[in-house]
Amino acid sequence: MTAAIHPFRQSTGADAAVRLRGVSRRFSGRTVLGEVSLDFAPGEFVALIGKSGSGKSTLLRALAGLDDGVEGEGTIEVPADRSVLFQDSRLLPWKTVLQNAVFGLRLPDADRRGRAALADVGLSGREDAWPNALSGGEQQRVALARSLVRQPRLLLADEPFGALDALTRIRMHELVFRLIGQHGPMVLLVTHDVDEAIKLADRVLVMEDGRIVLDRQVGLPHPRPRDGRVDALRADLLAALGVVDAV
């Protein structure tokens, strides 16, 4: 296997785009991502759903530029200002909450921004705590603050709510929705939760065996109306996932 460095363009400025052309990735010869071409509209919130092993994380890692050494082709263009929100909070245990929130941020007013970002996620007063002293939900909120403090043009989130309990997850949905509304970045949210995708995203992609098999605009106002349109969308998405909704 060659240590591939993929064609990867990072654009800056307000019109920075997300553009994928024929992106494929292989692990030991097995195709995990097949010829994905994709464009994001400015400020678009895109949810990516698909069965386990369908290639969602592989696509996200390609967009994040974290897949050097993986075999593959295709060109990717993403904003240089982007941040990744992982499923685990990935806080550094030897840094305080505030130091974690501003990790890697090289700005003179990083401290002030960090405090503001922590306040945004409801963690004022915990700046000097150690991550180990925080609950799982609080740790994930620090991770959210860390990914938003640099005001990214693209937020890449890989099942960021997967490890949280149902109640905390609903709170996180509201928080993310509000904060995304303030900053207005493009978002790629990988999730296995169809309802989460419908609730948050402007557009839902369904992936199967490394290909995007369904690409749907949600086209409904927030909060989602409680009528047949959501049910119809959910049924379509579940059908694309190969699940028959029996209930």
Binding site: V84, F86, D88
Partner: protein, 286 residues
Amino acid sequence: MTLFDHALDAQALIGSRAREAPARAAARPPRLAPGKLPPGAILFGPLALVAIWELASAVGWLSPRFLAAPSTAIVTGYELLVGGTLADHFLASAFRAYLGLGIGVALGLALALAAGLSRIGEASIDGLVQIKRAIPTLALIPLAILWLGIGEAMKIALIATSVLVPVYINTHAALRGIDIRHVELARSVGLSRADFLREVALPGALPGFFTGLRLAVTTCWTALVVLEQINTSEGIGYLMNRARDYGQTDIIVVGLAIYAILGLASDFAVRSWERRTLSYRKALAS
């Protein structure tokens, strides 16, 4: 009541106990792990030993030619201290131990960083240290004497080389075992290599370094004790050797006590330094 009846009664009793037992167990789960000791309780064993030892000496079971009583050793230690020689011997031993320890820790750390952070370093250093690890320090004494003589330089050099190994092994392993998820995070926020080393790799390896340091302190005392048997005119080991020639078991006990105190104090110092530096871990337990 016949004997037979008694037997029956007893059986019934056993039966009813057996039936009762699970009910009681359910009401209060048995304590599986021993409870926590109150502070200072760990001293019970050592103090009891000293008491028995003193008693055995007092009633004459232990002859002073075999082993001096603790009280005799305390008096002797006090006299030596007041007489001025003990402090000099103590300082000579402590100087040897800590200079060797300091040099060895610095070398071990430097080698671990070189091997853990660069491929050239890994290729050139790791194999050598692994070979050094396989050779006991005592086996190096003949060569060290030929090269450095029988003076202080040889002793400090040997303490340093024996201390270097545990520091190197543990620090190097911690640097190599760095959490790949932290590497990914650092890449995703665009950290430079220098910043990555400073903010992620080194703090992440610190627990390994402390493990190595604690082993190093133990190693350092072991090496010191052995080396002080060789041609010394100063130091706790010299004091004990001379006492052996005159059959002064009280001085030997004083020497042993000083080794114990130095070892315990060093371990305590490293532990509290570790606790302060790695205080972020405390939250885990609470």
